[in-house]
Symmetry: C2
Subunit: 252 residues, 2 copies
Amino acid sequence: MNRIEIFPVTNLPIVKEGDDLASLICKAAEKQGTPLQNGDVIVVTHVVVSRAEGNVVNLEKVTPSEFAKTVAETTGKDPKLVEAILRESRSIVRMSDGKLITETKQGVVCANSGIDRSNVPGNSNVAPLPEDADCSARMIRQKIMQTVEKDVAVIVSDTHGRPLRQGEINIALGVAGFKPLRDRRGEKDLFGYTIRIKRTAIADELASAAELVIGQTNEAVPAAIIRGYPYPKSETAKATKLIRSREEDLFI
Amino acid sequence: MNRIEIFPVTNLPIVKEGDDLASLICKAAEKQGTPLQNGDVIVVTHVVVSRAEGNVVNLEKVTPSEFAKTVAETTGKDPKLVEAILRESRSIVRMSDGKLITETKQGVVCANSGIDRSNVPGNSNVAPLPEDADCSARMIRQKIMQTVEKDVAVIVSDTHGRPLRQGEINIALGVAGFKPLRDRRGEKDLFGYTIRIKRTAIADELASAAELVIGQTNEAVPAAIIRGYPYPKSETAKATKLIRSREEDLFI
């Protein structure tokens, strides 16, 4: 029986700019009695990745543009925060009182361009999404492989809202070491019927599974280990493949 | 450390109309060495629920309406299948070659009103979504509690596509025994910042986690057990709370 286990990575130190996140995770996993193994999936929340990469914006140093001020009035948000959001945005999808939905430069549609205020030290500091989350994941994976000589997969995750459903779920912003979509077209079901349009977004499902132990408010657990999932390996796959543009979309 | 385990429920018989799904799951779990425990989350795919409930449509007996024939031409689908889809629909959201996105009577926006062709025995049989998946989940939970005297949570799940993301993920159509949304507003983060707009769709995350062992084409595994997740209990909560109507939506 294919049991899957999910372990939180506990007792990580507060991650700050320049920290070697991969080594910190390897050490913490070792210390808590779950050293990394070949085939593990390591899920890391984007906030600690952004912090390790120094991708943190001090709002006190941000000067809002005229447009940012106008948007801040419409949405009831801090003009400096709006300016930081706009700098990460390709377009504004929707705005209203308290809400600012944008399409990020990476093509992700989400609230506030994914900028996180929580779990960032310093009252006026916020963490944007990693500039290239696939690259961040790739670097963490490489460093883990160097440090403990285990072949693992890595996901950089974000919790975000989604169209037509209430509440937020964790999704994959960046991946390394495996294909984020498992293509099942052509497989047969139990009764011999050939599946025709089945592609499972396993990277998003793994990210959601990880959040069951991560929680988002408890920064002491910014990472999780998923053990026992036979992912389809790939050295080149990217999570950007999971993005469907608004133009291509069928639901909206 | 809060480890979570996910077990597939293997060696279930082919589920047919009138079967007592809850007892079958209890027996299979016992037999494979993972008897149900208090606090387990049991995730069951909707297809076996629909089959146990006799909610299967034989397309040979369906007479397509004039409108169904027109839609079938536009979409390139079987007119009888289109008729079955329309009977489950409140409205058509979008259609094009090969695609028919509808809003079901339950309010879920998905492809083909969620009608599944795979894993349904009989060449011309299809399985619509359960009429009231919360009620289905409640009945399965009650029966499990009667059978093995364990207090568990139940999710009836479906794999479906979503706006703005490629690939499908598993979501919760029906729940019993716990709150599908975990409200984190008011909690504080590691640095004392109070979270303001955080509600996690834990039912959807649990459903996605379960699919890591369920797979969708392998009907031998139509259910999973998630152990070790401290869900917020509720005797009355419903998965319909996870639906955001198109009118209320901010993303589209």
